[in-house]
């Protein structure tokens, strides 16, 4: 039985034209393989195969102490590295009932939003590239550089910050942080309309994204598609709203929701989120409270016996951290509910009936980061 299923899936029906998109392919953004059955140019079936970059992070977590685990999470969704860090920190802090200084939550939220903008900028670059508009790549990276410079100035790291630690931050922000963030906001407010001019309002882009691969709200919930991809279908899944953490409770921001659920809607939600993130940053940048940048923590962290779950909104969706502790300094079991993991498999529902070029556009609009799927 099992063999037969595998055989059918690998060989497909006789008249199918099977191509492998990946694991080495310019548009899978990593080592992911889509097994695509074609009829002419039209896709009949897509089977995603993953595991090419499975590193066993969950197993490694059972071996490492809590501060060490944080640095493994960087390597999952490297574009929202800070949110991944924060999720583990929040979970550990909640378990140990540590009161985190207000300055820390404030700065963490700011870093969250900066990371979200940087991540969406890179997504925009790659989305344009997937569609064949090569110039977008340089426009997006040009602006992303400003955010990475802010990170570099404060923490010395650019892509993954690794600055979180249970109880706070490893180091305080640079004195020039506020000024740099303000400069960035005023700069990016001017530059973001360029994105619309270059890609959003382009006729060919519109033709290729409008009405392509619509995902209904019910399917989005069924498949657990979260983040901007889910919100494009009208699935209100923003954890910042539904289970606020940090200081999101006190902030005034909109959850960008659309109802069409097609490729263009997924695109527009992310563009809208960049504006919204800038709004959040503007609310925060002027009133960072003074105080310690970390709470007093014990040298060796031991969580009380029990199970702890923390949901965080990363730039791609909902990240869940599930820690089972038996009272030791290493966790008994750690599970990461990765947003990309659920977002990936919906592609086998979305793509059939569309062309190969659409498959690339759809996977671009889902904004997959492969290491997060495999972990």
């Amino acid at each position: 039985m099992q063999e037969e299923i595998i055989k059918n899936i690998i060989l497909g029906e006789e008249e199918d034209y099977l191509i492998n998109v990946g694991p080495q392919h310019p548009s899978t953004h990593g080592v992911l393989r889509f097994e695509v059955s074609l009829q002419g140019e039209t896709i009949k079936k897509v089977v995603p195969h993953c595991g090419y970059i499975h590193r066993g992070i969950e197993k490694m977590c059972e071996r490492d102490t809590y501060p060490q685990i944080i640095h493994l999470t960087d390597r999952m969704d490297y574009l929202s590295a800070h949110m991944n860090n924060e999720a583990v920190c929040l979970c550990v802090e909640k378990a140990m009932e540590v009161e985190v200084p207000e300055r820390v939550t404030h700065v963490r939220t700011m870093l969250d939003e900066l990371t979200r903008i940087a991540s969406h900028q890179l997504w925009w670059c790659a989305m344009g590239m997937d569609m064949g508009a090569l110039t977008t790549f340089f426009y997006g990276l040009r602006d992303r550089e400003h955010i990475l410079d802010i990170f570099e100035e404060s923490f010395g790291t650019r892509l993954i910050q690794s600055v979180n630690t249970p109880g706070g931050l490893m180091q305080d922000i640079h004195p020039g942080f506020q000024k740099r963030v303000k400069e960035f906001i005023s700069y990016f407010r001017k530059k973001l309309p360029e994105y619309d001019q270059l890609l959003t309002d382009n006729v060919i882009f519109r033709e290729r994204s409008e009405g392509i691969a619509p995902l209904s709200r019910e399917d989005a919930i069924q498949y657990g598609v979260t983040g901007p991809s889910g919100r494009a279908s009208g699935f209100s899944c923003d954890v910042r709203k539904s289970e606020p953490y940090g200081i999101y409770k006190k902030l005034n921001f909109k959850e960008i929701l659309r109802t069409e659920g097609d490729t263009l809607a997924r695109y527009k939600v992310r563009i809208g989120e960049m504006y919204e993130s800038m709004n959040i940053l503007e609310q925060l940048v002027d009133n960072i409270p003074e105080g310690d940048y970390t709470a007093k923590m014990k040298a060796v962290l031991r969580l009380p016996v029990g199970e702890f779950f923390q949901r965080v909104e990363t730039s791609r969706g909902e990240l869940g951290v599930y820690i089972v502790s038996d009272g030791n300094k290493t966790p008994y079991r750690v599970k990461f509910r990765a947003p990309n993991f659920s977002n990936l498999f919906v592609i086998s529902k979305l793509a059939p009936g569309y062309k190969i070029a659409d498959l690339i556009a759809i996977s671009g609009s889902l904004d997959l980061v492969i290491p997060d799927i495999d972990r």
Binding site: S27, M129, G132, T135, Y139, L198, N202, I204, A357, D358
Partner: protein
């Protein structure tokens, strides 16, 4: 032997006379053919190298970058360095590929573009052959290149290559119609298919100005269709690097890949020079009215400068397309041709025929 940069007729005739004086007419013809071949080979290589460099600089300019800037002053020798690299690269043999077709495909592509360049008039009296059906010849020869692309895709024994080749076949055959029809618009105006004749007919004004709206429409259609015919972005579906890795030339390496690469740039040059010859007056200078000072200054600029200047403007426009637009999808590509460009073209040509019949053009 007189040398006149405004008229090469005397120069070529004197070379012909000189050769015939020292050898029999048959040998003289043979020597001339060899000479022309050599000149075109050098020209081909030079234009190819320059266009690759120009594309990289234009693309860098559009993308907020500097482009090549290390090899030589402002990176001028970058393409030569790339050429040396490509020459020294291994030619990877493909297991289970059709060896013969796999090896001749790049040559077919490059020969097609080489043949087309023969009919292009660079200046007065400076062209290899002046056919009386020059336009037909160029249309016929330039579409031979797709045979090479199809063979390359088929013989590589790779699925990506085959999809790329299929796309390319559908695309080139479709857009061939629009290219031909838009050129015919001007043939109706000029009343000749000879390229030199068409240029002479533009002595008192380029067809794009003289030909009312239909000539403008035909020019725009020609630009779109010829960009599609040369497989350049936003119509680069045959390569489509984000979908098919590299399309029909996925399996090629080294100098064979360089042949495809060079042929693409030369095809761009050929269609641009055709656009210039047919619509923008070829090597004719820009004139307004008759006998004023502006016209005299324009006449002072040599025809070769005019020709290459206009050609590179058209090439710049085509590069601009590539670096700003996303790629079309195959069905949209065919829709654009069969539902929009072709009907527009057919009505346009009817309209032009009517205008010419009534004598309502300049």
């Amino acid at each position: 032997m007189t040398f006149n940069i405004y008229d090469f007729t005397e120069l070529t005739r004197s070379i012909d006379d000189g050769l015939k004086a020292v050898m029999s007419p048959g040998w003289a013809l043979f020597t001339e053919l060899v000479l022309i071949g050599l000149v075109f080979l050098i020209l081909y290589a030079l234009i190819g190298l320059f266009l690759v460099y120009a594309e990289r600089k234009v693309c860098a300019f559009i993308q907020n970058r500097l482009g090549p800037n290390r090899v030589g002053p402002v990176g001028i020798f970058q393409t030569i360095a790339d050429l040396i690299k490509l020459l020294m690269k291994e030619l990877i043999p493909i297991k289970n590929a059709d060896k013969l077709l796999f090896n001749i495909a790049p040559f077919i592509v490059i020969i097609a573009s080489f043949m087309a360049i023969a009919a292009i008039p660079f200046a007065k009296g400076l062209h290899a052959i002046d056919f009386n059906i020059g336009i037909f010849y160029v249309i016929a020869v330039s579409s031979l290149g797709v045979v090479g692309i199809l063979l390359a895709g088929w013989s590589s024994n790779s699925k990506y290559s085959l999809i790329g080749a299929m796309r390319s076949g559908a695309q080139v055959i479709s857009y061939e119609l629009s290219v031909g029809l838009s050129l015919l618009t001007i043939v109706v105006f000029a009343g000749t298919m000879q390229l030199s004749g068409i240029i002479e007919s533009q002595a008192n004004g380029w067809w794009i100005f003289k030909g009312h709206i239909p000539a403008m429409v035909a020019f725009v259609v020609f630009l779109i269709a010829s960009t599609a015919e040369t497989n350049r972005g936003p119509f680069d579906l045959a390569e489509a690097e984000s979908e098919l890795t590299a399309g029909f030339h996925t399996e090629y390496s080294g100098i064979k890949f360089a042949f495809f690469f060079l042929a693409e740039f030369m095809n761009m040059f050929i269609v641009a020079s055709m656009a210039v010859t047919i619509f923008l007056g070829g090597w004719m200078p820009l004139h307004f009215g008759t006998g004023n000072l502006f016209n005299h200054i324009m006449d002072f600029i040599p025809p070769l400068v005019w020709f290459f200047g206009k050609t590179f403007v058209v090439i710049y426009i085509m590069m601009w397309f590539k670096w700003t637009f996303p790629r079309l999808r195959i069905d949209q590509l065919l829709t654009l041709e069969w539902k929009y460009l072709l009907p527009i073209n057919l009505f346009n040509i009817l309209f032009v025929a009517f205008l010419t019949l009534m004598g309502w053009h300049f």
